[in-house]
Symmetry: C2
Subunit: 370 residues, 2 copies
């Protein structure tokens, strides 16, 4: 029976349509548990660039910071990414992540039993998979392009005597590495007590430091099984034996690649939520940004084909991590599982015998189950 304010950033493409369904489900929770959710809707991405000239305005960032949690859809139009865009819609994400110091990105991958057959992997390989990727989100190769540029951390295309060249810089401080490792080990204590730290320590200096810090932090958690794994080997083992993982912790870009790969274990990207957390406290818990791991998918926007479950499960993570409402979060997860068990699927999960419904209908089914 609490009062909570949630900033809603629907964004571009399928962002608005999936976010709408997440709100429908949050409203069902509000009714059932007698909470009051107050939503502040703001423009972000292409929508914001067109209306305000920036991917997210300072005012919107301010509103985000003052709310209890942020529900994010997706950003991005049809871009060539060839340097010709003045402002990239992705800047909204970068500003939110860096500006609000959301350094820990949690991406759980737990294929639903009734969706095992939807994956391109064999059901017997997937059976029992339940992993959490903890991705560092405010360091590494990202953010080199910030304005003003960070001294000693160039990210630019420049003219040399021998033609053009481009440079990006990968920097991690010991402090940054340590705090994300701690998030991973603390998470593992609530799960299956295992942490796999992923790096490329046979090549990168940043990975050698990463590994040194990981080994040190691991020694403080003797109850947690710990292993180091090279990123290339991890890309393989995720497919060979996904059940061998519990918590995977890694740097920003490796986390980006590995989680998209891991999403295929769950049958579709449209199933996977994420939470981005920092140190900023609110009245009820920690401020967080919650978003589906899929993008704006402009090719299917407005057609009712998008799967809103990733957005709905992101709302569940929001309840759990930022509002401290664990029962409510579990209720949403339960409703999603039941709806899938009943055979309902969106287009991305089409298979023989499925009852194909559209984005809105999926949202309504899940809300009704609550």
């Amino acid at each position: 029976m609490g009062n909570y304010t949630i900033t809603v950033l629907p964004g571009d493409g399928i962002g608005p349509e999936v976010t709408e369904q997440a709100i429908l489900v949050l409203n069902a929770i509000a009714r059932r548990y007698q909470h009051t959710f107050t939503y502040h809707r703001r423009l972000v991405g292409v929508a914001a660039i067109e209306a305000e000239g920036v991917a997210i305005s300072d005012e919107s960032l301010e509103i985000c910071q003052q709310s209890d949690a942020i529900l994010f859809g997706a950003v991005g139009g049809i871009s060539n990414y060839d340097g010709s865009d003045k402002v990239k819609p992705e800047e909204a994400l970068f500003k939110l992540r860096k500006g609000l110091q959301f350094f820990a990105n949690l991406r759980p991958v737990k294929p639903l039993k009734n969706l095992l057959s939807a994956s391109t992997l064999k059901p017997e390989v997937l059976q029992g998979t339940d992993l959490l990727v903890v991705r560092e989100l405010t360091g590494g190769l990202y953010y080199g392009h910030l304005e003003p540029p960070v001294p000693g951390k160039p990210s630019e295309i420049r003219q040399t005597e021998h033609g053009r060249e481009a440079i990006d810089t990968l920097i991690y401080t010991e402090t940054e590495i340590e705090r994300i490792l701690r998030v991973a080990f603390d998470s593992a204590r609530d799960r299956k007590q295992k942490v796999t730290s992923v790096d490329k320590a046979n090549v990168l200096s940043s990975s050698v430091l990463w590994r040194q810090v990981a080994n040190r932090v691991a020694s403080e958690y003797p109850d947690v099984t710990f292993e180091n794994l090279l990123v290339d080997a991890c890309a393989m083992h995720l497919l060979r034996k996904p059940t061998s993982f519990d918590v995977i912790v890694t740097e920003n870009l490796f986390g980006d690649i590995l989680t998209d790969e891991a999403s295929m274990l769950a049958g579709s990207m449209g199933m996977l939520p994420s939470a981005s957390l920092g140190t900023h406290k609110t009245a009820h818990g920690r401020l967080g940004l919650y978003e589906p791991i899929h993008g704006s998918a402009p090719d299917i926007a407005g057609q009712g084909k998008a799967n809103p479950i990733a957005a709905i499960l992101s709302a569940a993570m929001l309840l759990q991590y930022s509002l401290g409402l664990k029962d409510e979060a579990a209720a949403i997860e339960d409703a999603v599982t039941k709806t899938i068990e009943a055979g309902y699927r969106t287009e991305d999960l089409r298979e023989a015998g499925a009852r194909i419904i559209n984005t809105q209908q999926m949202g309504q089914k899940i809300a009704a189950t609550l």
Copy 2:
């Protein structure tokens, strides 16, 4: 009926045992086609560090350069990669790649029909997969640690006021990008006329330059279908629709991760060969380094469990690319396919009904089929 010299670098772990089988097969080719192969065996990796203090000696590099081709096993012992090793066995690979300017790494992935069931992916998803990853091998985040350090390209752990930090530098010149793109487009012309260039242009400056160059080169190959793809999306699409790819071209570290992932399409890493090519010409073709994409696997070394097929198929690539012996290369591929069709498998491909044989026996079966 030619005379060829091949430098053999067996290396560590399972390197020597799989390389021995590749030589057995090359000798069968020599008999059947009346060629003479002269082998120069040299130490590399841990073996070289122990005997000579370096991962590969300058003399060995010299011998490599003067031969027609290099057959490489694997390097690496049981390392912690925590910065405590004085010399890393991997230095041998870096010196060979950088020293002999092997900038183009070709990694074909074409699951054998009889091995479709060995993969953790569903056979119907794999059916028809035939792709080639062209990985840039002498640039990017690799090689920052070279001695003497490259000016403006730091790779180091350093002390700052706020504790330690580590830095790596990702640099690509337009020239480096262009030459690897050309390898990809030229390869596509002999294949299915499609190139997918993989980058992270929504984040990295080096990827924006990469994409600009890729678009320009693509315009010179109007007969080749071309697309740009973000690396995270690629990690997903490789699993969702592997048959949609023909040639994938990408930078060094992305290529490292994606090829290990893609190896799972072929059922086992033990099936995948690679060729590393540069501009250095020999009497018969281009100097090249040929190696299985798997590593030294110290845990199974000396037990007869290693699959020698990746090494044997690497020898086939050697015949094709460096010696210009296409029929001979095809004969090896054919012998491998027949041996697999006959039901023979090494331990890595164990499944119901398989006739499990050891490393040597697999080499002998394939040689006998020739």
